[in-house]
Symmetry: C2
Subunit: 318 residues, 2 copies
Amino acid sequence: MTTDSLFRRLPRRAVIREVGLRDGLQILQRVVPTAAKLEWIRNAYAAGQREMEVGSFVPARLMPQLADTAEVLAYAKTLPGLLASVLVPNLKGAERAIAEEAHAMLVPLSASHAHSLANLRKTPDDVVAEIGRIRAARDAAGSRVLLEVGISTAFGCTIQGRVEESEVVRLVQAVLDAGADRVSLADTVGYADPLMVSRLVEKVLRVAGDRLDTAHFHDTRGMGIANSCAALQLGIRRLDACLGGIGGCPHAPGASGNVATEDLAYLLASMGVETGLDFDALVALRGKLAQWLDGETLYGSAWRAGLPKTMRQPEVAA
Amino acid sequence: MTTDSLFRRLPRRAVIREVGLRDGLQILQRVVPTAAKLEWIRNAYAAGQREMEVGSFVPARLMPQLADTAEVLAYAKTLPGLLASVLVPNLKGAERAIAEEAHAMLVPLSASHAHSLANLRKTPDDVVAEIGRIRAARDAAGSRVLLEVGISTAFGCTIQGRVEESEVVRLVQAVLDAGADRVSLADTVGYADPLMVSRLVEKVLRVAGDRLDTAHFHDTRGMGIANSCAALQLGIRRLDACLGGIGGCPHAPGASGNVATEDLAYLLASMGVETGLDFDALVALRGKLAQWLDGETLYGSAWRAGLPKTMRQPEVAA
C-alpha cells in the first residue's frame, strides 16, 4: 500500500474487535440491561463491526455485569458474519463457551507472576497447563471454537513492575505448544510505549508468526493510539478497542480506559486501511452509550471534531 | 539507541518546545495576567524546559492575550540557557522581535492558499517574499535572531481541504531560499495521521535536511502523540506542545488542543529519549495552570495515572 519504509508492513485491511461489552462493562459498578447490550451489538454490526467480545463465562456472583453472557452471545450469533468471542478464565468457563458454541474463546494469561498469583492464585505455568486441558476438552467435544490466549501485563504490571520480554516470548511459545490457535498481546495496565510495542511484537512474531494477530492497548497514559499504530506498522491486523474508550484498569482510578473504537476507526480510515466501518455510525452509537452509562466518563477525541474535510471530499486523481 | 528497524532513527535527545504561552493562550477569551505567565515560565524552567514560545508580536488590539509579550520575553531571557522565541506574522512584528532581542522568531506560512488569503490576505508566495524582507531586516540590523518558518496547514486545511505534499515541499524550498534558518511543519487543524507525517517529513527532509527539526501537532482527533511518535521515528528532534493540551483550533469548537506537554514528556521518557524534563514537576505545574485557567478544559492523560511503577523502579542490569 505504501513504499514508505516505516509503514511498508501496514496491512491493507484491519479489524477492530469491539471489547467494550466485556472489558468496558466489567469494571463498572452498574449492570447494563441485556436489552441495551443487544442494541449495542445491533448498532455496532450496522456500523460495520464484525468481531466482538460479548461477555465472559465467569460465575455471576463474581461479575454480575456479565451474568447474561449466554443470552448476549446467542443474539450475537444470529448476525451473519459476526465473530462473537467470550472471555473464559479457566476450563469451567471454556466448557460453557464450548457448550454455547461461541465462535472464539479468549483465555487470559498474565505474564506477570505476581499478578497471576494475586488474581487467579495460579502461576503463569499453571495457566499454560489449564490451556492444554481447555484444548483437550474442546477437541474431545468435537468443537471448533477458536482458542485464543491473551498475554496480559505483557508490557509491565502494577504489582510486579517490570515484565521481561524473554518471559513473554517463553509463555507465547508455551501456550502455542499447549494448543492455542492464536495469541494476543495486551497492555492491561497502560505501561506500553510504541518502542516497547515494536520490540516485543518483533520478538513474538519470530515464535508465533501470524498466530500473533491481535494487540490490545489501554489508553491509561494517552499512548493507546500510538501503540496501536506501532503494532500496525509491524503488520498486526486486529486491534481491540472499546467504544467511548470505556474500561480500563481498576488499579488506576480515574485514568482513561481502553483505546476508543471511534478514534482507532478514524486512524485506520485516515491511513487508508480498510475496516468496513462507518465512522459517523460509531459516533452516533457512542451517543447512545453515553445515555446507557449516564454518569460515567467516556473518552476519545475524534467524535468531537468529526471527520476532516479532506475525508469528506471525493478523492481526486493524483 | 536501538537496533529496531522502526525506531533506528529515534534521537537520543529531544526537545519539547513549550508553546502554551502563545498557541495555548491566544484562543482563550480571558487574558492571563503577566505575573501568572512569569510564574509559568519559572516553573517550566525549573521542570527542565529550555525552549519556550513566549508570545507574539501582533497588535495588542488584535490579540490582547499576548499584549505583554515584550515583558514576558524580557523575563524569559533572564533564565540561563532558555531559548525564548516569539511568533511574528510579518516584517513589522519581526522588527519588534529584533529590537527586543528574542532568541528566535517564528513566521507562520500557511501552505493552504485559501487559508493564507482568509487569514492574512496574502498568498503563500507573498509570505515567502515577506520572509525575504525579514531576513534582510535582521541581517541589516546586525541581529542574530534565529529565523524559523512554520509551515502551517501542512496536512490539510479546514477551508481548502486537501493541501498537496508537493506544494508544501515547494514552499519549504522557497522559504529556505528566501533566508529562513530552519523550518517546522505544523498540523494546525488536526488532520494529520502518522502515515501522512511519515510521508511528508521524508519528502521535506530531502530538501531541508536538518533545517527541518521541529514538528507541531494538534490533538484535535486524538492523533497527536502518534503523529509526534512518527516524527521521532524519522529523527525529528524538537516537538511543540502545550501544557495541559490547551490551545487548538477555533474552527473546531470543543475539540482538544495541542499535544499535551506532559504526555509527550512521558512518551519520550518511557522510550528512553533524554529531555531533561521532570514529569512530576510538569504535572504539578499543570495543576497551577488549571487554577489560572479556572473553567477552561485541560486535556492530556498521563497526569491522571502518573508514572508507571517500572519508571519509578531503579534500572536493573539486563
